[in-house]
């Protein structure tokens, strides 16, 4: 297998203020499937094109934001290898027992310098409502709402993007696809473990652990209507869930391979990098996070 170690962004657990409203949004509008409402109140969702049991976890809380973003690795033994490398880097690693989220095997977790909790896991139950695998029809049920295929990536805000970049590239074997570079170092980075243009992105921000957006993959931007990023070249629309967490629907973008060079933006061109046609950033996009 050519793709080893970290495969992809696997799930994200998001805090919402009111679950009923959140479900109307994520199931009705985004078009995710409702997998399970667990006894502890967490609700598990997936996109119709995802094989694993769930990819989005909602938890009702008194403040919105992100609890944890997790990456799926290829093999259980990868967890042992990564644990050693993460500890050697200087982070503390804890373990989450199998079944803490239904259908998932053991996870290892740690907190980044940016304040975000990240987990790795290898085992996930196969959904009984995933894509067909025998003479596959295109879908099981007609897609709903924005027809999201599944979880694509997150953008996280926190301090010390330079160090978090070093961690992802040196310890988790990610590649740095694009960055916004200042004379003092990078202030925004797009990182991938696959051929997607990004599995996770970080923006420099003084307050740790902040959540800028969760992004859902669409088959085509025709499903929603586009603006476009210069960075990744993906088509995009941003909006907010009912608790104020920013969502994105994303389509396209180039494919990345590990022999590709990192594309570099200067801060004065960032408007074009984020909103290619408008060529202008706005305070809300930059400053509004949960």
């Amino acid at each position: 297998m050519a793709l080893t170690g970290v495969l992809r962004a696997g799930f994200v657990q998001i805090r919402v203020l009111e679950m009923d409203e959140a479900l109307a949004h994520y199931v009705g509008h985004i078009g995710l499937e409702l997998v399970d409402k667990a006894d502890d109140g967490r609700v598990y969702l997936k996109g119709y094109d995802e094989f694993d049991r769930h990819s989005i976890v909602l938890r009702e809380a008194d403040a919105p934001g992100v609890d944890v973003m997790a990456f799926k690795v290829a093999r259980d033994s990868d967890l042992d290898g990564f644990e050693k490398r993460i500890v050697d880097f200087g982070l503390t690693v804890d373990t989450v027992a199998p079944g803490e989220q239904p259908g998932l095997g053991r996870r290892i977790g740690f907190t980044l310098v940016t304040g975000h909790r990240i987990e790795l896991y290898a085992e996930a139950a196969r959904s009984d409502n995933g894509p067909f695998i025998e003479n596959p029809d295109i879908w099981r049920d007609d897609p709903r709402g924005m027809r999201a295929l599944g979880f694509d990536h997150c953008l996280l805000y926190g301090p010390n993007v330079a160090e978090v970049t070093r961690f992802f590239t040196e310890v988790l074997d990610f590649n740095l696809v694009e960055k916004v570079q200042t004379p003092d170092g990078p202030i925004a980075v797009w990182l991938t473990s696959s051929t997607k243009s990004h599995e996770v992105a970080f923006v420099e921000h003084p307050e740790p652990g902040k959540f800028h957006h969760v992004s859902f993959a669409l088959e085509s931007w025709n499903d929603v209507g586009p603006t476009r990023h210069g960075i990744t070249r993906g088509q995009t629309i941003y909006f907010f869930d009912p608790s104020g967490n920013r969502n994105e629907v994303f389509s396209g973008g180039y494919s990345y391979f590990p022999d590709h060079p990192t594309r570099v933006w200067t801060p004065d061109q960032l408007g074009k990098g984020i909103f290619y046609y408008e060529k202008e950033l706005n305070d809300r996009f930059l400053g509004v996070v949960t």
Partner: protein, 95 residues
């Protein structure tokens, strides 16, 4: 019962009507006014934090990261979750 209430934003010239049951920030935006900055519109980001100076109101759930219980007792709320029950005077409070 009134069909709508008048909301006055102290420190600006803005005064607008808010239909019964509507949230103050949404009513403000619908009328093309901008005296209170707009963020996520969902009670999450804290951008539209205001102090209610007079009037009665109710709120929907707001992020505790931006409005503490003490804040709430002091009339600090997020305008995107603020529903008037009488005419209101509010003042932008910032983060």
């Amino acid at each position: 019962m009134s069909d709508s209430f008048t909301v006055t934003v102290e420190g600006s010239d803005a005064q607008f009507s808010c239909p019964d049951g509507e949230r103050v920030l949404i009513a403000m935006e619908r009328q093309g006014l901008k005296p209170i900055p707009v963020g996520c519109r969902g009670g999450g980001c804290g951008t539209c934090r205001v102090r209610v100076l007079s009037g009665t109101y109710r709120t929907r759930k707001m992020s505790r990261a931006h409005v503490s219980e003490a804040d709430e007792r002091a009339g600090i709320v997020l305008a995107c979750r603020l529903i008037p029950e009488s005419d209101l005077a509010v003042k932008f409070a910032g983060a």
